[in-house]
């Protein structure tokens, strides 16, 4: 899932400078799970903005809405009428949702209320860890299910580096070196010999931005649109 964190309050307040009506728009999927932008967080931010605006003698009319997902047209389309009243939308969705809303309502001022951090797992309530860097050439078969691109700060495909000390990572000594973890996992599954394989340099042409992907079964539909 995408993990995001609500922006510092002062930053949000500053971005609303000069505006007196705003709709706080939450998202019910990833950001709700990571407690940054779901319906509850919309309510909290609304209360905070209301008090902070009043303290500054600023008139701010705040609306609240939360949709299932902000990365899907059908859910954002539902807002059309409601949005007539608001020139400014403060979206608590991830960077994708914020942009998609802006694309669908280009006359509106759409502002981000969160910083999108990484894609990762919901290890536990309130605790998320980064797991994937979307390199578009998954190496997990060769590394025992532990991603060297993500879990190693240097993204080494042939690790460990000499910075590994007592099994710990040079960048964060609290962490075990990713390649030590990979070695142990491969050993546990009887695949240590596979680690002799020299991994060739990554093909970064596979991650040129912005990426586009369409499913084979739908290609004809999209090329007809061109």
């Amino acid at each position: 899932m995408i993990v995001a964190r609500r922006k510092p309050f002062s930053e949000i307040m500053e971005s609303l400078e000069g505006y007196d009506r705003v709709l706080i728009l939450g998202c019910g999927t990833c950001v709700a799970v990571c407690l940054a932008g779901g319906e509850k967080e919309v309510g909290i931010l609304s209360a905070q903005l209301s008090i902070a605006a009043e303290l500054r003698g600023k008139a701010l009319d705040i609306g609240e809405a939360t949709v299932e997902r902000q990365c899907d047209r059908e859910f954002i389309e539902e807002l059309r009428n409601r949005l007539n009243d608001y020139p400014v939308i403060l979206s608590l969705a991830c960077g994708v949702g914020i942009q998609f809303v802006s694309e669908m309502y280009p006359q509106k001022v759409v502002l981000p209320g969160v910083d999108t951090c990484f894609i990762g797992s919901n290890d536990d309530v309130g605790f998320w860890t980064e797991r994937c860097r979307m390199c578009n050439q998954c190496y997990l078969a060769f590394t025992g299910g532990i991603c060297p691109v993500t879990m190693c700060p240097k993204g080494l495909l042939n690790g460990p580096c000499s910075g590994m000390a007592n099994g710990r990572c040079e960048v964060d000594p609290e962490r075990t070196c990713a390649w030590v973890l990979i070695y142990e996992r491969m050993k546990e599954t009887g695949r240590v010999e596979q680690l002799r394989r020299v991994m060739a340099p990554s093909d970064y042409s596979r991650t040129t931005t912005p990426a586009v992907l369409s499913h084979k079964a739908y290609r004809r539909r999209y090329s007809a649109h061109e």
Binding site: G155, N158, E170, V192
Partner: protein, 296 residues
């Protein structure tokens, strides 16, 4: 032909020194040290923005070293440059007469004083060594024909006391398979615990230089803060040096320790040389080598 290669192949016990290029445009002090070292050591290793801190580049520092009559070992780090830039630098280095390089992945950005910089790591050290060999065979890493091939004596880094050692040796083997010529180890403070590493290297035909350090109070401070780049300094060594009553005595004890280490390394008869890190006290080198029985 790399002079370092010549000496190592002749079986001579070589002495190389690591020297940090200056942290600014003033090269006066740096050039003065280079002048003092000419003729006293077999090669100078110039780090590549070591510890992710900004210094004069390894390539230019290597040229300056060469101009002062020293044999440079140019470090090539994968942290700051992609394969295109590294290839360009290697072709340039070759054109400027630099023929010995040390390939490293590179200290991470957060370790230095410019932590906001973007880490590159387009290649790792294994891929870098392979790329160099590919260039020597006339092809760049994109598979395009090169108009003239460079030739390098290629080194890498290893840690004889890495713990755990197995993954480290698996990686080292990849470097050996890629055709690395010599190894420069992380700083060692004892010959104990290096047997597995040396046994691994037996019959592999690659030369190994033991990394040794003149331990200063600054090193000890870093060590105590947990900010070590390399192997930890053993507590006995730290207390020996710290318990000195004056700075002069502390330095003398560090020197004694270093001389003893050099002797121990030589006595093992399994190493091809040493790589010294002198922390600004390069002027002590001739004396130290004399004391260790390596006087020139």
């Amino acid at each position: 032909m790399s002079k370092l290669k010549e000496k190592l192949e002749s079986g001579e016990f070589v002495v190389t020194v690591g020297l940090y290029p200056p942290r600014g445009a003033d090269t006066g002090e740096f050039l003065a040290i280079l002048s003092k070292l000419a003729g006293k050591v077999d090669a100078i290793n110039l780090p590549d923005s070591r510890g992710a801190s900004i210094r004069l580049s390894a390539l230019s520092a290597s040229i300056l070293a060469k101009e002062k009559g020293l044999e440079p070992v140019m470090t090539v780090s994968c942290r700051d440059r992609n394969r295109i830039a590294i290839s360009a630098d290697l072709l340039g280095a070759h054109a400027l007469g630099i023929d010995t390089v040390l390939c490293v992945s590179g200290d991470y950005v957060s370790l230095g004083d410019v932590p906001q910089a973007k880490p590159v790591y387009d290649l790792d050290s294994v891929q870098l060594i392979n790329m160099i060999r590919q260039m020597e065979a006339g092809q760049d890493i994109g598979g395009n024909e090169l108009k003239g091939s460079p030739k390098f004596f290629v080194g890498c880094v290893a840690n004889p006391i890495a713990d755990p050692i197995e993954p480290h040796l698996l990686k080292l083997q990849k470097k050996l398979t890629a055709g690395v010529d010599f190894i420069q180890t992380l700083d060692l403070y004892s010959v104990e615990g290096t047997a597995e590493f040396l046994n691994f290297l037996e019959d592999k035909g690659v030369k190994a230089l033991a990394g040794l350090r003149l331990v200063t109070m600054a090193d000890i401070e870093q060590n105590e803060k947990g900010r070590v780049v390399g192997n930890e300094i053993p507590s006995e060594v730290i207390s020996e040096i710290k318990s000195a009553s004056t700075d002069v005595e502390a330095l003398a004890r560090a020197q004694e320790f270093l001389v003893a280490m050099i002797k121990d390394i030589r006595a093992e008869n399994r190493w091809s040389g040493i790589h010294l890190t002198m922390n600004g006290h390069e002027e002590l080198i001739p004396q130290i080598l004399e004391q260790a029985g390596l006087g020139k």
